[in-house]
Symmetry: C2
Subunit: 207 residues, 2 copies
Amino acid sequence: MNTKSGAILVLSGPSGAGKSSLIRKIMDDIGPIYFSISTTTRAMREGEADGRDYHFVTKEVFAQEIEEEMFLEYAVVHGNYYGTSLGPVKKALKEGKLVIFDIDVQGHDAVQNRLSDITTSVFITTPTLQELKTRLLNRSTDSDEVIAKRLEMAKREVQRISEYDFLIVNDDLDEAAAVLVNIAKAARMKIPTLQINEFVQTWEEKA
Amino acid sequence: MNTKSGAILVLSGPSGAGKSSLIRKIMDDIGPIYFSISTTTRAMREGEADGRDYHFVTKEVFAQEIEEEMFLEYAVVHGNYYGTSLGPVKKALKEGKLVIFDIDVQGHDAVQNRLSDITTSVFITTPTLQELKTRLLNRSTDSDEVIAKRLEMAKREVQRISEYDFLIVNDDLDEAAAVLVNIAKAARMKIPTLQINEFVQTWEEKA
């Protein structure tokens, strides 16, 4: 009972805080995981691959799936739809995997509303806004306009850190990874309320 | 910031579920801890030591300390007072230690009410009531009357498992210890709300 059922680990935080590097670093140390890939209606960019970066679909397909309640959460950003499809998440949970979400504060909200009993959430950020800016400038993948947008969004998201179970200030990647490994391993131990209720109800009777 | 401040790990569960064995087993693997020792007015029993099993005090001293708000929580059981003194807990937290409490469901309630931001809680139990009875009979330290009382209390406490962050069904000590180590290591990463607020407030300004 301790380890059979899957669980969810939500990672949020500004683009540039090092989420992807952290996940790559800990992946081999935390047991079977499923990394949730978002579905989007926005156009595929150079270097992106369908099914790796996103599931790319048309607006018609997305609208259809909303109607069929196939999303755990979805949002509209700059006129494009982004969402998390329930199907693969449910499958991975059934297989006992730790499902990892890299989603924003809104997405975290939606996951907590529906699956709080098996969810652990971590906010990952740089020590300062200045440091975030430096990192975004150094990786030089984004235009100045995109960087400015990311920084504005970061300012808003940081205000909601207290909604998360854990905060990781990523000033040293090795140290941050060590912390995240511990959190991920513990996250796996969360048990669905239904399973707990069943345990409680039968505890006295079982021989 | 990630690891400096102390945190709290609450362990609850029936006497006989293996809490003490588990703590002994994981103690060397989870970093600096302070094991909280309760204060009581009940008489010292054979084999017990003051400051190891309990802090033994008179009812007058206990009443005085209640008045001075020196308890994190206290309760009256069978006419005797039992409580957790705040002083040593605060000191251990300041030293960055993980403070471990072996307390009942009521005590857990009190800790959550006052220190939920840095508290992680685990309910530890046997797979079944029958198994608990067998273990209590086998260790033959308790009279039939005491065993009966413990079983009744266990039935009541098990009903409140869902108030805890984690459930460990201790049917294999090694497996249960491995789970508890992960939870204890993650528990240490909880950050006090005050510290988070300070971080959020200064994040934009810090250079």
